[in-house]
């Protein structure tokens, strides 16, 4: 996970988008039957895509997005230029 980069995150999201739009061009995914827990299959497919995105958010926040903790404000160091 620690090798995951911002570009990698973008690639994963492109794959997620393909999965989200898959019912438009794969008829087998775009079906009312079979029902699972009384709901059409396509509903579960989109919930699965949403869950993937939630997982990616947590992974990206932990391993990819840099909080720039080593940054010191101009007031916290000597000097510093203001625009």
């Amino acid at each position: 996970m620690s090798k995951l980069t911002n570009n990698g995150v973008v690639v994963i999201h492109i794959i997620i988008w393909i999965l989200a739009f898959a019912p438009s061009f794969i008829p087998a995914l775009n079906t009312l039957e079979p029902h699972i827990l009384g709901l059409p299959f396509v509903v579960f497919w989109e919930i699965f895509v949403w869950a993937l995105q939630v997982a990616m958010l947590f992974i990206t926040a932990k391993y990819v997005w840099d909080p720039f903790d080593n940054y010191k404000k101009p007031s916290e160091r000597e000097g510093g230029d203001q625009a």
């Binding site: 090798k3 980069t5 911002n6 995150v9 973008v10 999201h13 997620i16 988008w17 989200a20 739009f21 019912p23 438009s24 061009f25 008829p27 775009n30 079906t31 009312l32 029902h35 827990l37 009384g38 709901l39 059409p40 396509v42 509903v43 989109e46 895509v49 949403w50 995105q53 939630v54 990616m56 958010l57 947590f58 990206t60 926040a61 990819v64 997005w65 840099d66 909080p67 720039f68 903790d69 080593n70 940054y71 010191k72 404000k73 101009p74 510093g80 230029d81 203001q82 625009a83």
Partner: protein
């Protein structure tokens, strides 16, 4: 006048005074937040739940109660899936850009995003074009809010009060609380309103599900209508598409890219307490809005199709107010009043946030450049006057506008997209140039305006997508034909980020 109308109007007035009270409390509690122009427009730092809910309330507007259920009613469940997809995607850029923008603001003291671009590009043209795109975008979505809020109160009174009087009253409420509390006060009011409309949306959904007999019953009943087209995705090449593939895809692309760069988001990255607050917010924001707002509002709209089909509510209800019409017919007419409060909560927060942002742009990107001698307190005074004038113009446009709420919100998103080129040059494509960036922005805004006001977008694409198809090649071609910034110049500008990064792999400019 019925008792319900009297009580409803009294509640609207009380609600307005309550918001003014919150702004007064905020200004008294944190006097520094309204001391001068800088803090008036960006506060003294917001984080945690205030950042989360104020971002949600200012970004997701009356659309969630007025536009969202109507669109789902008209186009089916696929729309909820598409909206969820773009909402979950758009904030990934927040986690990337937000901390970088926060650091650059701390280092260089930026007041607006245009201020940041002018410094980076050493050129004010990018700044001015951005302000035009941003103010047009903020204006379009705010017009929609005034329309929806005025319509909502007017409907509650049985059209006794005209829409324009209702929205004019709200104009004064917003103006007073925004002028008193500044950005910090607006953020606190937004938080209270964000919580309120989320609770109302979920209350509405739970009632609809209870009356329908659960998720499964509702879905299956709606699926049984017209061969399931309200539940299924429209297949590519379908004879009667609800959402054909190109419309659905271009809608998602525009909403994602435009959402990335919405002025409400960008200003809050500047105003955040620290970078960790931004990253936490980036996780919870899309989860909150997808589950808490668009899915709940959308499902109520979808349920209306089932209720009408099964005869539980009349078929001649006003579709444009379907959320309140459905719940009023299912339970008690008092839902009219509850929904009005939800619409106000959603709309007022967006108008206040948008108009404060627009005033900030005009004051710091135009007035402060023309008259640099004005001091911080003077800029605050200018800010209040600009706020009053801009918001009045927008209110006036809302009275004259005939555009649908959802269409206006989509138009605003398309305008926000113009910021994608300067951000791309700063952070993602080093070969991008100042002239290329300007060409891309003008091409995009021109394309959006052309396909919105003069010609119908071809191939079922949205106006924003056509704008992007014009702006993107222009940006690339002109950039390749002109000289980019040297790596040394970039390194000098991005020095705070290079020295401040926590991870070795972090890519900086």
């Amino acid at each position: 006048m019925s008792g319900m109308v009297v009580v409803g109007l009294a509640l609207v007035v009380l609600y307005g005074f309550m918001l003014i009270g919150i702004a007064l409390w905020s200004a008294k509690r944190d006097a520094a937040s309204v001391a001068g122009g800088k803090t008036f427009f960006l506060g003294t730092g917001i984080g945690g739940i205030v950042l989360l809910f104020s971002m949600m309330a200012s970004s997701f507007s009356t659309w969630v109660i007025m536009g969202c259920p109507v669109t789902t009613y008209n186009t089916g469940w696929q729309w909820i899936a598409l909206v969820t997809l773009y909402q979950m995607t758009l904030t990934i850029i927040g986690g990337y850009l937000g901390p970088r923008m926060w650091v650059l603001r701390q280092e260089y003291g930026y007041m607006t995003v245009g201020n940041m671009f002018a410094h980076f590009f050493k050129n004010n043209a990018v700044r001015y074009i951005l302000v035009v795109g941003t103010v047009l975008g903020l204006g379009a979505t705010t017009v929609a809010q005034f329309k929806a809020m005025g319509q909502s109160i007017s409907t509650m009174t049985g059209d006794m009060l005209p829409v324009w009087i209702c929205s004019l009253f709200l104009y004064f409420i917003i103006l007073i609380y925004a002028c008193i509390g500044g950005f910090k006060g607006v953020a606190l009011v937004d938080t209270a309103q964000g919580i309120l409309f989320t609770v109302i949306l979920w209350g509405g959904l739970l009632i609809a599900l209870f009356k329908a007999g659960g998720f499964a019953t509702m879905f299956n009943n709606v699926a049984a209508i017209d061969g399931g087209k309200w539940i299924l995705f429209t297949p590519v090449g379908a004879a009667e598409p609800i959402w054909n593939f190109s419309t659905a895809f271009s809608f998602c692309v525009v909403a994602t890219v435009g959402g990335f760069f919405s002025a409400g988001f960008l200003l809050r990255y500047f105003a955040s307490t620290d970078t960790h607050a931004i990253i936490k917010n980036t996780i919870w924001f899309p989860i909150l809005v997808s589950i808490g707002v668009s899915t709940s509002g959308g499902l109520v709209g979808l349920s209306a199709r089932y209720f009408i089909n099964s005869g539980m509510i009349p078929a001649d209800i006003n579709i444009n107010s379907i959320f309140q019409e459905t719940l009023s017919h299912l339970t008690t007419p008092w839902w009219q009043v509850i929904v009005v409060m939800g619409v106000l909560a959603a709309g007022l927060s967006t108008v206040a946030g948008n108009m404060t942002g627009a005033a900030n742009n005009i004051v710091y990107d135009f007035i402060h450049i023309i008259k640099p001698e004005i001091d911080d307190k003077g800029l605050k005074k200018y800010g209040r006057v600009v706020l009053a004038i801009v918001m009045f113009i927008v209110w006036f446009c809302s009275v004259k506008s005939t555009g649908a709420v959802t269409a206006l919100v989509q138009l605003s998103t398309a305008f926000y997209m113009s910021a994608m080129f300067p951000f791309a040059t700063m952070f993602w494509w080093k070969r991008g140039t100042t002239i290329g960036t300007i060409a891309g922005m003008i091409g995009l805004l021109g394309g959006v305006s052309l396909t919105t006001f003069f010609i119908t977008p071809p191939f079922g694409f949205t106006a924003g997508f056509i704008g992007m198809l014009i702006g993107l090649p222009l940006y690339i071609i002109v950039s390749l034909a002109t000289k980019p910034m040297t790596q040394e110049e970039r390194n000098a500008y991005f020095k705070p980020l290079i020295e401040g990064k926590s991870y070795d792999k972090t890519n900086v400019g």
